[in-house]
């Protein structure tokens, strides 16, 4: 996992949801929260909205935190749920850039990856995002997605295989 500042790490691992521990957990992984939320919500603006909403709900409803895991894991779950809500509320409009005639190979590769990822089941997508964008281990992913740890391992294996199959070696290279 990403190295955390020592105070942030301690706060993130504490099983106590106070404004201070929530804020510390957020500060310690802010970039990762935003990256995962952006991936799930489908836009950087949606990602910011999702992280802000998750944080607000954590502050407002910290009384619902039961201390069964660290605050950070609880926050991850809130971020995933908020990002999912943002994505569901967003109008489903295909984002097709205007065809200028020129074809950037990086854009082509990105489009291919986007299509391949979009074709994955939701759980596989979210597991991939948490694993790669946030560097979470299986236990943390399981906590964030509300599934068993063994399920995470199987889900990631399926996601890897599906992505490999969907994208040819040229695109992945």
């Amino acid at each position: 996992m990403t190295e955390l500042p020592s105070s942030g790490l301690a706060a993130a691992r504490r099983r106590e949801a106070t404004p201070a521990t929530i804020e510390a957990a957020y500060r310690a992984r802010a970039t990762e929260f935003l990256r995962v939320a952006t991936a799930i919500a489908g836009s950087s603006e949606g990602g910011r909205d999702a992280v802000q909403e998750a944080l607000a709900r954590a502050f407002a409803r910290r009384g619902t935190f039961r201390g069964s895991g660290p605050v950070e894991a609880w926050l991850w779950r809130a971020v995933v749920n908020a990002a999912r809500n943002v994505r569901d509320r967003s109008p489903r409009v295909a984002e097709a850039p205007a065809d200028t005639g020129a074809h950037d190979p990086v854009d082509e590769r990105r489009d291919a990856v986007r299509e391949a990822v979009a074709a994955l089941p939701e759980r596989q997508r979210h597991a991939l995002f948490l694993r790669y964008y946030a560097d979470l281990d299986y236990a943390a992913i399981a906590e964030a997605l509300g599934v068993r740890r063994g399920t995470v391992s199987a889900t990631l294996n399926q996601a890897h295989a599906a992505l490999r199959a969907a994208l040819d070696e040229e695109v992945l290279a």
């Binding site: 990256r35 952006t38 991936a39 802000q52 201390g67 590769r109 695109v171 992945l172 290279a173």
Partner: protein, 387 residues
């Protein structure tokens, strides 16, 4: 592939959302503000009502005249979801006030609570309702000073002079009684159900508690009902409903509770001079009338609650006996009101036939009060029959 990661997949995903730098502070202020709105919405759903009695809070509080009054006799109420208590103006609580506490052993007497999240299980979770407000001193001199300030703030000089003359006619026992009244508050978390019923906690489990920090995560709490001498700033918590709550007939509301309490304190009914002085205070501090936006109705050395109690005279009725219930602010405020400096109150007052009113009985109005930026005093900004 290393440690459950496929480098090729990682490379591909980096194309979708590249790594970037991000300043956490850009989202925090908005998140805190949104959290406040979420908490307000939650409180509204729970219909938590915070009720404060004390009609002359306009000049709020002095130390309780110890021994003279039987305070405990009217701190007891029949409402299981309410708690009436007295504030000790000279004492201040400086500890923490977490948003929620878990109190597995909540009962009569002192019990220990933990910041929610440290203790798993149990169904005795208390939410923070409010912290007790500061109560400024009330004496004959403080009333005179307040009249000066009211006049400086634009009150009618003739009315101020009348109030001074009437103040000279009331006895010290009346002022002492008012001082005690300013220190008594009632809070309520009840919500009425079908057929005038309400849900109440199991017998012996307090609906409201006053708590003090013992350690970072541990608090010592006691039932708030009939508690005497609660320090200013003390966090007050109300119990979240759980499966073992029972539905009972709600006690009848008592809009004239103030009158009963004042009579108990005085040991008699207020005389004509005292009633007139009471009305002087209200009218000195207010001008204008009718529903809708008001102008110039402001108080000196006031509290928001006391200012809201000026609504009846602002409406042009002589109803000195009122109860005031703090309400959460709605999402949309009347034009020109700012959320941070505005409070909303439901004011219930009673009109009787002896005053010549056709509409005798209980009346309810909703009052927005705002703190004037320059003067720092509260003023009635809007009065209506709906919030």
């Amino acid at each position: 592939m290393i440690a459950g990661k496929d480098p090729v997949v990682g490379q591909a995903l980096d194309l979708l959302v590249p790594d970037f730098d991000f300043d956490p502070d850009t989202l925090l202020p908005a998140a805190y503000a949104r959290a406040g709105a979420l908490r307000t919405a939650r409180r509204r759903r729970r219909t938590v009502a915070v009720i404060a009695f004390a009609a002359l809070l306009l000049f709020a509080g002095a130390a309780i005249a110890a021994g003279k009054f039987d305070l405990l006799s009217f701190l007891h109420t029949n409402d299981r979801n309410s708690a009436r208590f007295s504030v000790a103006p000279a004492r201040t609580y400086h500890g923490a006030a977490p948003l929620a506490l878990t109190c597995p052993g909540a009962k009569t007497g002192v019990f220990t609570c933990h910041v929610t999240g440290l203790v798993v299980g149990g169904n005795r979770i208390y939410d923070l309702g409010q912290q007790t407000d500061k109560v400024p001193p009330l004496t004959r001199q403080s009333m005179l000073d307040s009249l000066d300030k009211a006049q400086a703030a634009g009150a009618d000089p003739a009315r101020v002079a009348q109030a001074r003359a009437d103040l000279a006619k009331v006895g010290d026992d009346f002022i002492r009684a008012l001082a005690v009244m300013t220190q008594i508050e009632t809070v309520s978390a009840g919500s009425s159900g079908p057929g005038g019923t309400e849900r109440v906690p199991p017998r012996g489990v307090p609906a409201w508690t006053a708590c003090r920090e013992v350690t970072l995560a541990t608090f010592r709490c006691r039932p708030l009902a009939a508690l005497v001498g609660v320090a200013t700033g003390t966090p007050l918590y109300f119990l979240q409903p759980s499966k073992d709550w029972r539905r009972v007939q709600a006690p009848p509301s008592q809009p004239s509770d103030f009158e009963r309490m004042l009579e108990q304190l005085l040991g008699r009914k207020p005389n004509a001079d005292e009633i007139r002085f009471f009305m002087d205070l209200a009218t000195v501090a207010s001008t204008g009338s009718s529903s809708g936006p008001t102008t110039g109705a402001q108080t000196a050395d006031s509290t928001a609650v006391a200012t809201a109690q000026l609504a009846p005279p602002i409406l042009g009725v002589s109803a000195g006996l009122v109860s005031v219930t703090a309400r959460p602010l709605p999402r949309r405020l009347p034009d020109g009101l700012r959320p941070g400096a505005t409070r909303l109150f439901r004011v219930v007052f009673y009109l009787d036939h002896s005053n010549g009113h056709d509409a005798a009985g209980n009346h309810t109005v909703y009052v927005y009060v705002t703190r004037a930026p320059r003067l720092g005093v509260w003023q009635v900004a809007w009065v209506g029959t709906k919030p």
